[in-house]
């Protein structure tokens, strides 16, 4: 199998970044207005192959919006995104042309997204959820797609659920299926949008464990999260956002224990006092 989990070269979890490859994602000058509300005020982020980047910050800081701009679920007001050599520039003033839409689709094929609310397709079995896009978009032959789906289901520990319907799964199981669904497209980068925020506390662990494994196996990922312990374990780099800007970034130990910026420190102090404020 190819894709994000193919890198046998590093198993340990070095802090230095020596295991990182060439740039895979490059977001430049991303701005976003909601009406007159300037939500993203010029964000630049480069993510290298096998790098796990965690975006942290209080709700309303723009981290989810930024993530959604990376695969154009939100159209940025300005800036550009490049994934695996496919570059798309924001063009908010014009109706999207066919060519532009196709470029966006190419970006989306190369990035897999995991949502806070899972968004599994309720009218399809788990297996059908997993093979739908590979067979129809990547034109993978059905037997091969099924084999791939079963492998990834096994990876998230749900091999026996392949014929269930999503309604019969717990929240944690749903989210693990959603991760498997994203993996089945063998994307170049995984985007996680607060994947544990909609889960009951006792179900968070099983999802974080899967994500941690992915990070340690060298999946390239961008994660919006409030799970600081997880960030410490799995991140190569932690990025702190406030008011639509990157305030500070660095390795997790430094960012979480000894950040330079006052605002980061303040966020962490408040956050650790009450770790689950109203989610965005």
């Amino acid at each position: 199998m190819t894709g994000p989990i193919e890198s046998p070269s590093h198993i340990s979890h070095p802090v230095t970044g020596s295991h990182l490859g060439s740039p895979m994602v490059r977001a430049e000058g991303i701005e976003k207005y909601f009406g007159r509300n300037h939500v993203l005020q010029g964000m630049d982020l480069e993510v290298r192959t096998r790098e796990a980047v965690m975006l942290i910050g209080r709700s309303g800081s723009g981290k989810t919006t930024f993530l959604r701009c990376v695969n154009f679920l939100e159209e940025p007001s300005a800036g550009s995104v490049e994934i695996d050599g496919v570059r798309v520039a924001a063009d908010p003033l014009h109706a999207r042309s066919r060519a532009h839409l196709e470029q966006i689709r190419q970006i989306r094929i190369r990035s897999g997204m995991v949502f806070q609310e899972f968004n599994l397709f309720p009218h399809m079995s788990v297996l059908q959820n997993l093979i739908e896009a590979p067979t129809r978009i990547l034109k993978v032959a059905r037997p091969e797609a099924v084999e791939r789906a079963e492998a990834y289901l096994g990876k998230v520990g749900l091999a026996e659920k392949r014929d269930e319907y999503p309604a019969r799964l717990s929240g944690g199981q749903k989210q693990r299926v959603a991760i498997a669904r994203a993996l089945c497209m063998e994307p170049k980068v995984l985007l996680f949008d607060e994947p544990t925020s909609a889960l009951d506390p006792e179900l968070i662990g099983e999802v974080l464990r899967v994500m941690e494994d992915l990070a340690h196996e060298g999946a390239t990922m961008i994660v919006v999260t409030h799970e600081m312990h997880f960030a410490r374990e799995a991140a190569d780099r932690v990025v702190f956002l406030e008011e639509g800007r990157i305030i500070e970034e660095g390795p997790p130990e430094k960012m979480l224990d000894n950040p330079d910026d006052d605002r980061t420190r303040q966020f962490l102090r408040r956050f650790l006092a009450s770790p689950h404020p109203g989610e965005s």
């Binding site: 839409l101 989306r108 897999g112 949502f115 968004n119 397709f121 739908e132 309604a167």
Partner: protein
């Protein structure tokens, strides 16, 4: 311990309560059905007691009128099918980002909903021949019913499509699915489930509205009843038979629809 001392009593108490609840439910159903039977019986007896009801007419012409029922059902089934197709196309068109397409669909809905079904039926059968377009009565009826219900159901489907959570489209889009595929594979199947009860309602309504096509001589229930009723001067009996058949059909279809809904509710949602 007191708990273990009481434990043997508990199952029998539960059984007693359940038994009492079952009995209450059965009694309610019996009274309910009895009320129906009593009222209907009174009605029929009252009619018979007037001595004004010609039972031989009913025996003689009842089967003739009843033969209209298959035609009524045929009209309704075929028309609900085409109406559903029109509604799917209409709803997608109404939601289109293309102003022309959305405009066409919305004008269709407005024109059809803003004019009486009876006028539409007459228009197709009586007015189109002026332009050299001759359509037989049954196809005319099907066209009119399909277009009319298609317009109403367009709004139903539009609401159904909009009721599918936005996250579903986003998840599909994030997998790289193009918009057409998202509509066909993700949105429409879920929208369809949402609107199935409404389609059932519309079908029952259509069975009754199909009586309007009697004005263009489709030989369905009402037409047959009018025909023999006028001919034999027994309109009361003839229309009573027609009404009874309509009513029985709607009761049966409503029951079937209820069952279908219950089964869907138990489904995998």
């Amino acid at each position: 311990m007191t708990v273990s001392a009481q434990a043997p009593r508990l199952p029998s108490l539960i059984e007693q309560i359940e038994g009492a609840q079952d009995r209450a439910r059965t009694v309610f159903r019996l009274k309910f059905a009895g009320t129906w039977a009593l009222l209907l019986g009174l009605l029929i007896f009252g009619l018979w007691a007037t001595g004004n009801i010609d039972t031989t007419f009913i025996e003689l012409w009842g089967p003739f009128i009843l033969l209209g029922a298959p035609i009524t059902i045929l009209l309704s089934v075929v028309s609900i099918f085409f109406a559903t197709l029109l509604a799917i196309v209409g709803a997608i068109a109404r939601l289109s980002r293309n102003a022309y397409i959305s405009g066409v669909a919305s004008l269709y809905v407005s024109l059809v909903r803003g004019t009486p079904l009876l006028v539409q039926i007459a228009f197709i059968y009586f007015a189109l021949p002026q332009f050299g377009i001759f359509i037989d009565s049954i196809p005319s009826g099907i066209i009119a019913l399909s277009f009319n219900y298609g317009a109403y159901m367009t709004e139903v489907f539009r609401a159904g499509i909009q009721a599918v959570p936005r996250g579903q489209r986003e998840a599909a889009a994030s997998l790289g699915m193009p918009e057409r595929l998202i509509m066909r594979r993700i949105v429409l199947p879920q929208a369809f489930r949402i609107v199935i009860p409404a389609i059932g309602n519309d079908f029952v309504a259509m069975v009754k509205d199909s009586a309007l096509v009697s004005v263009i001589s489709v030989q369905e229930l009402l037409w047959r009843a009018r025909q023999v009723g006028t001919q034999e001067f027994r309109n009361f009996e003839a229309l009573l038979i027609a009404a009874a058949i309509y009513w029985i059909m709607t009761v049966v279809f409503s029951f079937g629809q209820e069952r279908l809904e219950k089964r869907m509710a138990r489904g995998d949602r």
